[in-house]
């Protein structure tokens, strides 16, 4: 039974996906029940496993494909961190999406690919070997494309093409890296760091670079970030998925796996590739913030904010000191909770008030109090206001930087905080302190849109307030770091 758990976790998304494709447009009830049921089941399974994994249990399933090609699914603490994030957010997004789409057309296709995306993300989280990781990583690429192009208008198709234009070459390089590595070491499993000494130093550095390009594209590391802002053409639930549940998270998670489980901290330091990565991440943090500042569309600003924030996770991985690792891992969850709140709210503003531009937010706070409160909570968290989640992350990263003897990172963090404030605070000011335009509309009459936003915002708040609890994201990240990387 326990060997089947990883498989079961995958099936909770795969089965709704497979059935959704074949449902007629008007089978609303069945489709909603399927997707919600799958999401609930998955959440339930994860809760059931949390305590066992905290106590040291590991669930493993092996599916041999061909010699050297083994699909290994394994639930360890790091996998569970990511999978519980994506499962929880999937549940919220599903509720939100059902309300968002209402009776709009092509829903079977949407929910089919949406669940397939979550299936791929779960697979990425559970992958215990490099090749399994790659298989699910590519599956994620493919199942995201129909979602980004869902509206089928020119902008969506352009965005979807741009996504593939980044994703396919980068994943090809990832495959080259994997094959190059495995031709020297044999299949790479994440629980035993492979012996790379068969390769010379420059080959190892080249492979590391290929890996970072391969997974970094999904994490939107500069200069591989261009696809993310243009993907804003997609419907709001897709943005939530891209920015919080699946895609960029998979990229950041991939960086963590590569640094800690493929190369190992010691070898990364020895090869001298950690610092360049940290510099790249820092550059991304600053560049994303600066670009966010220049945007006048809410969703575009949020998108560049994601570019910036996700690189905090990469920065934590690159610095590789204990506090930095904890901060980075915790931010994987923190950023997801805060960003999904913001995107849910942006979608509600668009749907219920017809507001897409920042200028349209004037005075909306009082007209749409729940949404605006959530939005404010998310934005303040992103800035890093104590005691919210973003603050916790930044403190840990800062200490980690000092541990890693990279004091310059403090300047980056400080600058980024200022920039975050510069691009979020004006929004809050408009929401709460400006007069509404005379013809402004806006209501919150669809609870299924608002409730997920509220829940996500409360979770983000809780993650910060209860950071000391062992089951908080920070507590869990500490557990992972102690168990896996400081052996």
């Amino acid at each position: 039974m326990t060997a089947l758990l990883p498989l079961l976790l995958l099936l909770t998304s795969l089965v709704p996906a497979a059935i959704s494709f074949f449902l007629a447009q008007d089978s609303y009830g069945l489709r909603n029940a399927l997707n919600l049921g799958g999401a609930l089941l998955k959440a339930g399974l994860i809760v059931a496993m949390l305590f066992a994994v905290a106590g040291g249990a590991v669930y493993e399933t092996t599916i041999p494909l061909a010699p050297g090609l083994v699909l290994l699914l394994k639930i360890d603490a790091l996998a569970l961190l990511f999978v519980s994030l994506s499962a929880a957010l999937w549940l919220l997004t599903t509720i939100y999406a059902i309300a968002y789409f209402g009776t709009k057309p092509q829903q079977s296709r949407f929910f089919g690919f949406f669940s397939l995306c979550v299936f791929a993300t779960t697979g990425i989280a559970l992958s215990g070997s490099l090749i399994s990781f790659f298989i699910f990583f590519e599956l994620l690429t493919l199942s995201t494309w129909p979602l980004v192009s869902h509206k089928q208008d020119a902008a969506s198709l352009r965005a979807a093409r741009s996504y593939l234009l980044y994703a396919l070459p980068c994943s090809t390089l990832l495959l080259v890296a994997i094959v190059w590595l495995e031709s020297a070491t044999g299949p790479v499993l994440f629980d035993e760091t492979p012996d790379l000494d068969a390769l010379d130093r420059s080959s190892q550095q080249a492979i590391f670079a290929l890996f970072i390009v391969g997974v970094g594209m999904k994490a939107a590391i500069v200069p591989l970030h261009g696809w993310l802002p243009s993907a804003m053409a997609a419907p709001a639930p897709v943005s939530a998925l891209l920015h919080a549940v699946a895609v960029v998270k998979a990229g950041a998670f991939g960086v963590v796996r590569v640094v800690y489980d493929v190369f190992g901290v010691a070898r990364v330091t020895d090869l001298g590739v950690g610092m360049p990565l940290a510099v790249l991440a820092s550059a991304t943090i600053l560049w994303g913030s600066i670009r966010a500042l220049q945007q006048t569309e809410i969703k575009k600003r949020l998108a560049y904010s994601t570019v910036s924030q996700v690189s905090c996770i990469v920065l934590g991985a690159a610095l590789a000191s204990p506090y930095a690792v904890i901060g980075g891992l915790a931010h994987l969850v923190h950023q997801g909770l805060m960003k999904i709140t913001l995107f849910f709210c942006a979608g509600i503003y668009d749907e219920r008030a017809g507001v897409r531009d920042i200028a349209g937010l004037d005075g909306l706070g009082w007209r749409m109090p729940w949404t605006s409160a959530c939005f404010s909570l998310g934005a303040l968290g992103m800035i890093g206001l104590p005691p919210l989640a973003g603050f916790v992350t930044k403190i840990y990263l800062g200490i980690g930087a000092l541990q890693a003897e990279a004091a310059w990172v403090l300047a980056v963090l400080g600058a980024s905080t200022l920039l975050n404030a510069a691009y979020f605070l004006p929004l809050l000011a408009r929401l709460w302190f400006r007069e509404a335009a005379p013809d402004a509309r806006g209501d919150e009459r669809v609870p299924a849109l608002v409730v997920p936003a509220v829940v996500a915002a409360l979770a983000a708040l809780g993650a910060g307030l209860l950071a000391a609890s062992p089951l908080s994201p920070l507590g869990w990240a500490t557990l992972i770091t102690e168990r896996e990387y400081l052996r």
């Binding site: 061909a66 590519e138 599956l139 089928q152 198709l157 093409r161 593939l164 495959l175 094959v179």
Partner: protein, 490 residues
């Protein structure tokens, strides 16, 4: 043994019957025959033991007097792929009005030619005699040319003529090599040849046969006949021609270089073959990018995909034969061949359905068809995933095995060919996919193919994906009688 005889005799008998019987009876016979072939294939594969491939001495005459047939993993896998593709193409042809639309002529000719093609493919896959392979190849070529000519339009005739000329040259070059082999060794049996002392003219014979088979396989620069031919045949015929026919001559190349004359393989020649394969990948892909007719995109893609197959020569032939990476290269290439066959057939059958609906295969006529025909479009997308080599598909398994082998052998440039080729494939397949999934300008077509009809290409594309998901069974099958592994056997 019985299964093997059935796999050879059934399509032959079916073809003879299809010439004589009235059209209605032929339509009734074809599904039954396909089922029987699938069953025989299943028995054949199940009966194959890992130790020794099945051998059949025809007429009980041992070589060099008689002809020997042998089913190894390679032959069994290709026979199985052929059975799937043929069954799908036959069902598609039965259900579509296309062959019949051209009148009684096409409706009469399609079935005998198709069944003769099937018989020829199976005969080539199992034959161990170089001259018998020649006769099989001729049967294959003539039936193929006939299928192209069914189209009837002037461009189809020109395409068939060009195909014919290349086929003739290919046959003669191959025959020249066979003549030299017999003159030098007094036998045409592949097994006996492997044990003979090499003779001086062997290199020339091998070169001539290889050149001829390259023309038949449409390897760059001998590919010019393929796109117009596959682009102007009826869709079910194109599916067979593109998915299966080039594989037959490729199998003979494998038999020659790895089984009949492995010790005569020069490193330079092996590399040259792979270089031509690389050129095919690049040139075929670039040409596919420029086409405005979907059938030609798919046909040029075959030119490119055939290129991959020739990477096997430097990685598993010559000095590499005894190296640990040769097995991966050999199996990887066969995975690619199988996946390409299934996916390419799915693509042509899908295009055929769109053509039946829109009356054209121009790319811009396909706009928004995904809404009206989601299953067919999904089949095309899955097939594209396989051809690009993305996981989880048979194409990915093949690419992964080949790339690993290339890096292990230190010949990383072939890995880059595979990687770059995948990107090029993504580029030329993206265009039709984006058009299919774009929003339709006009209301969808009035009459659509039934769901059953749409399911045919989907099943084939699904099989190409399943080849990657459940790749262990085909992997083991392909290992049976693998030349490098079978050095102890005779």
């Amino acid at each position: 043994m019985t299964a093997l005889v059935a796999l050879l005799a059934l399509p032959l008998a079916g073809a003879l019957a299809a010439v004589v019987l009235p059209h209605g009876a032929v339509r009734g016979m074809v599904p039954a025959l396909s089922v029987a072939m699938l069953a025989a294939t299943a028995v054949l594969v199940a009966g194959l033991s890992a130790q020794a491939p099945t051998r059949l001495k025809l007429g009980q005459w041992p070589p060099p007097v008689g002809i020997v047939l042998e089913v190894d993993g390679l032959a069994a896998a290709l026979i199985a792929m052929t059975a799937l593709v043929m069954t799908a193409a036959a069902l598609a042809a039965l259900r579509s009005e296309q062959p019949a639309a051209a009148g009684a002529r096409a409706a009469f000719g399609f079935w005998p030619l198709m069944l003769l093609l099937w018989a020829a493919l199976n005969a080539v896959f199992v034959s161990r005699d170089l001259f018998n392979l020649y006769v099989g190849l001729e049967l294959l070529s003539l039936a193929s040319v006939g299928l192209v000519a069914i189209g009837g339009k002037p461009e189809a005739l020109a395409a068939a003529m060009r195909y014919m000329l290349f086929a003739l040259v290919g046959s003669l070059l191959y025959l020249a090599g066979v003549v030299l082999v017999y003159a030098a060794h007094g036998t045409l049996d592949i097994g006996l040849l492997a044990d003979r002392t090499p003779a001086k003219p062997d290199a020339l014979a091998l070169a001539l046969m290889t050149a001829g088979l390259m023309a038949k396989t449409a390897l760059f620069p001998f590919h010019v006949w393929l796109p117009p031919a596959h682009g102007s045949a009826p869709a079910p015929a194109s599916a067979m021609l593109s998915a299966l026919v080039p594989k037959a001559s490729f199998v003979i190349l494998l038999r020659l270089w790895f089984e009949a004359m492995p010790d005569r393989a020069q490193d330079g020649a092996l590399v040259l073959l792979a270089v031509l394969g690389t050129a095919a990948v690049i040139w075929g892909s670039l040409r596919a990018l420029l086409q405005t007719r979907l059938k030609l995109v798919v046909a040029y893609s075959t030119v490119a995909q055939i290129g991959y197959l020739f990477l096997v020569f430097p990685l598993a032939g010559g000095g590499s034969a005894e190296m640990p990476w040769s097995a991966g290269a050999w199996t990887g290439v066969l995975f690619l061949a199988l996946a390409h066959g299934l996916a390419k057939a799915a693509m042509f059958l899908a295009v055929g359905q769109w053509m039946a609906v829109t009356g054209s295969d121009r790319l811009d006529a396909m706009r928004g068809l995904a809404t009206a025909m989601p299953m067919t479009s999904f089949a095309f997308a899955l097939a594209a995933v396989t051809l690009v080599g993305l996981p989880p598909s048979g194409g990915f398994t093949g690419k992964y095995l080949l790339m690993t082998s290339a890096f292990a052998a230190g010949q990383w440039m072939w890995a880059l060919v595979l990687a770059g080729g995948g990107l090029l494939a993504a580029a030329y397949l993206y265009r039709p996919l984006a058009i299919l999934f774009a929003r339709a300008d006009a209301p969808g077509p009035a009459t659509l193919p039934t769901r059953g009809m749409q399911a045919i290409p989907l099943c084939l594309a699904g099989a190409a994906i399943a080849l990657g998901i459940a790749s262990e069974t085909p992997f083991e099958l392909l290992s049976i009688g693998r030349p490098a592994a079978a050095e102890d056997g005779s």
